[in-house]
């Protein structure tokens, strides 16, 4: 059941330049799965719309969620000033999440680029229980990394950096090929060019790839039709060739979407 709920910031810190991590105590945590997101509200009446932020982690007791975000504008800049104890309003839990059960007994490859890395962490945790093997390729601009050590607890991690200062120089596909990984299934989140690259890499090889998409959102619950993505087939809900990222996504089978 979706709801608008209040939570309390437990901990907030900068984990890399302009990248913040915030743990929020909220009962939304009970239903939170990797790849799903929440809409975080500012308390500023001039910036009204909820900011979609992925669930990066859920604590073991399912009483708190962790969000990791980059300062991208006014809303996220305000969030970065939040301190422990602050009350925040959230809409959630939103979206479908990664179909992690599909990786049961398989070699799963998790791919994350930049601020697309956070949802990969909770997914890696989940998969470490059910997948045969979990590998992870993550891309950063440079050696100023974040969440890397945490991911290493759950997966074999390979890094790509744009400037070559760590791991493979290049993007996540370069790192995937460099390390001769042979996944059965891919899960990815990151910037559009990366997702496009993964779609084009996976499809000819017949490898299933689930990619998490981003779009400007208003309602977050499927009512406004603001957040659509073009689909290959006519969508079951809209009856045209597009689908709502906030409700039918953000995670899609790469073969179903035209990106």
């Amino acid at each position: 059941m979706k709801k608008k709920a209040y939570g309390f910031v437990i901990r907030s810190e900068e984990i890399s330049a302009d990248i913040y991590s915030m743990w929020i105590e909220t009962d939304l945590a009970k239903d939170a799965n990797p790849g799903q997101f929440v809409g975080l509200f500012t308390s500023d009446k001039s910036a009204l719309l909820p900011r979609p932020i992925s669930i990066c982690e859920v604590n073991r007791d399912k009483t708190a969620i962790r969000l990791v975000y980059r300062i991208a504008g006014e809303g996220t800049r305000q969030f970065s000033h939040y301190q422990a104890g602050r009350r925040v309003a959230l809409l959630g839990v939103l979206g479908n999440g990664f179909p992690y059960e599909k990786a049961t007994g398989k070699h799963a490859l998790l791919m994350g680029g930049g601020i697309g890395i956070p949802p990969i962490l909770e997914l890696a945790k989940k998969l470490s229980d059910c997948a045969e093997k979990v590998s992870c390729v993550i891309g950063y601009r440079n050696s100023d990394t974040f969440l890397l050590e945490e991911l290493e607890q759950y997966a074999d991690v390979y890094v790509a950096t744009e400037d070559g200062s760590l791991g493979t120089k290049g993007n996540v596909i370069d790192a995937l090929e460099n390390n001769k990984l042979n996944p059965d299934i891919i899960y990815a989140c990151g910037p559009m060019p990366m997702l496009r690259g993964i779609k084009n890499w996976a499809e000819p090889r017949g490898i299933e790839a689930y990619i998490s998409l981003e779009e400007r959102m208003a309602c977050g619950v499927g009512a406004c039709l603001g957040c659509v993505c073009t689909t290959k087939e006519v969508d079951h809900h809209s009856h045209v060739n597009n689908t709502r990222i906030c409700t039918d996504g953000p995670v899609f089978d790469s073969r179903e979407v035209m990106i």
Partner: protein, 301 residues
């Protein structure tokens, strides 16, 4: 407890709170947050004779105290709408008001014809959407065309007709009078105000459509003024909307002359808004010992 029911063109509303078209789907999504049975009515997303894919993205931009949208009236077409959305709504004890859009007069007439014998309480004709190239707003910006399309729809409609007016005109009372003269049973206003946002770092429009319709609290004073002007220009009832965020806002619209009010963009911020309006209006009436909501409709002259 105060009497909150109102009557528009012979249709009884248990309270004056309805949803603004396009912000509430057909109620399915917000049914998770509010009890649709408690609302005076559900106004659906605009529906055309055939499916429309809408505009490219980005379709949404936030602006100070509101937002811009350029959805482009994406809709599944009237056939799917009848089979799915009307079927869903028929189980609720609330009025069903179907918002109708089109690119030509015959598009509108076709939808009205299809809805005539269906489980629909009223039809709201959108002649004011700023986000599609053809039709829509073009019908709503000249008094003669407002009169003409209203009359042609009224000639065939078997349900009461609400004409939804655009604020993107010099004198909205002219459009209100033209709709009344054409036989409209009611008018609703305001639709969104055409706006624009530019990303100065990328030197690009934020919306793929360049322009979008502005809604939210920032437009409320304009909307209240227009409702007031129209209430003094025509005798048919008015459904008022534009930035309603709480019961106080809704009461302001009613005092300006609206018989009913619609919650729009603020549903996105507070998904419980519609029910809170119902409760808040009631509480206001009780607190001020007002027995019947009609005492406040148009009470500020």
């Amino acid at each position: 407890m105060a009497k909150t029911s109102v009557n528009i063109a012979g249709v009884e509303f248990k309270n004056p709170v309805v949803t603004a078209s396009g912000t509430f789907g057909s109620g399915m999504e917000y049914g998770e947050f509010v009890d649709l049975n408690r609302l005076g009515g559900v106004v659906t997303k605009g529906v055309a004779n055939v499916p429309w894919p809408g505009n490219p993205t980005p379709r949404i931009a936030e602006v100070y105290g509101g937002m811009l949208n350029a959805i482009g009236l994406q809709n599944p077409g009237v056939d799917v709408f009848i089979e799915r959305d009307l079927e869903f709504l028929k189980d609720y004890d609330t009025n069903v008001i179907v918002n109708v859009c089109g690119k030509s007069v015959s598009d509108y007439l076709e939808v009205v014809e299809r809805l005539n014998d269906k489980n629909v309480d009223m039809m709201e004709i959108n002649i004011s959407c700023p986000n599609v190239k053809e039709g829509a707003i073009a019908f709503g910006q000249k008094a003669e065309s407002v009169f003409d399309i209203t009359k042609r729809i009224k000639d065939i409609a078997k349900k009461p007709v609400i004409m939804k007016l655009s604020p993107n005109v010099t004198d909205i009372t002219e459009m209100a009078r033209a709709a009344e003269a054409g036989g409209a049973d009611a008018i609703s206003l305001i639709n969104t105000i055409t706006g624009m946002k530019i990303d100065i770092n990328r030197r690009k429009f934020v919306l793929a459509n360049k322009t979008g319709g502005m809604s939210g609290p920032a437009i409320k004073p304009v909307a209240v003024r227009m409702v007031y002007q129209c209430a003094n220009a025509v005798k048919i009832p008015i459904i008022g909307m534009g930035g309603i965020a709480n019961a106080e806002d809704a009461i302001e619209f009613m005092m300006a002359g609206a018989t009913a009010v619609a919650a729009g963009a603020m549903n996105f911020v507070n998904p419980y808004l519609t029910e809170e309006l119902v409760d808040g209006i009631e509480a206001f009436l009780d607190k001020n010992k007002i027995e019947d909501i009609h005492e406040i409709i148009g009470c500020v002259k």
